[in-house]
Symmetry: C2
Subunit: 173 residues, 2 copies
């Protein structure tokens, strides 16, 4: 088991083109179960997950956020959001760390299941976040972190080797 | 392979007590390879990783950041940092998302390898970040995200079931 979980981390790629086929309810639930298995500061679990499967809304997302690739045959778009009312009151911004861990879990789970996905950034760009809140009718305390289109891959991107030993520093910078 | 990567995500736990035994150089490198396999906004890879193995420094970390558990027998502490000089110039704060994904990869890889680890938060708490920068002699553009003690587990925490279907919203909040 150990080796394959690491292989999955090392071979994950960003997939931006999909076949247009749907994914099953079970696959979607598995992705979201993995998202909610993420750690969170003080175990606050300050998250909500929007799942966009409506074709018209996927096209609207694609128009308003062209880099989100929601019009490239994605089955759904998952939008991980921070719920500021569930965040740590004295340190609310830790929700970004928590939701980022949850998003990475979605990407890894999708890859493990033979699905494709890509993290397309929203927060901390305030214009993007506000536009997406308006489009989806989100209240002010629900802040979208990113848009993650998910679908059946229609491309096999090359795995990037990003290893750079110079980025490691022992006991001092 | 698919199933075991997901099992690894679903069974990861936060480990805060370690045996004091060392981990191998190969294990440490594997953790850091997984960290650098994370996605990053515009593929900027805006990261640096401090590895603290010096016993005196681990004790200093434990004194200054008691919640970091670096004095509980950890073999090393990995401190993922954002390098603001490598960040997106127009949207520098995306480094937090990138480094959080890298940190989640470290936690998952540690779990897959039978090691224990826990994410203990630093940024965006400015006092914690500044104190850690001073302790480690980090320049202002190197911002520590968190402290991750890693070691041989001396406890087997129960897996938390954090699934909550009410956190999922279809097409609208």
């Amino acid at each position: 088991m150990q080796k394959s979980a690491i292989d999955n981390i090392m071979t994950r790629v960003s997939v931006r083109h999909f076949t247009g086929e749907k994914i099953s309810d079970e696959q979607l639930e598995q992705l979201l179960r993995c998202a909610m298995a993420a750690p969170s500061a003080m175990n606050k679990q300050p998250w909500e997950f929007l799942v966009v499967s409506d074709e018209d809304m996927l096209m609207r997302l694609d128009e308003e956020f062209p880099y989100s690739r929601c019009g490239n045959g994605a089955a759904v778009a998952i939008i991980p959001c921070g719920n500021l009312q569930r965040a740590i009151s004295t340190m609310p911004d830790f929700w970004v760390n928590d939701l980022s861990a949850a998003t990475e879990n979605i990407l890894l789970a999708a890859h493990a299941m033979g699905l494709g996905a890509v993290w397309t950034g929203v927060h901390p760009n305030p214009e993007r976040a506000q536009k997406l809140q308006e489009l989806l009718g989100l209240p002010a305390h629900i802040v979208p972190l990113c848009i993650v289109p998910v679908g059946i891959p229609a491309e096999q991107p090359e795995i990037k080797d990003k290893w750079d030993a110079d980025r490691i520093h022992y006991n001092a910078f």
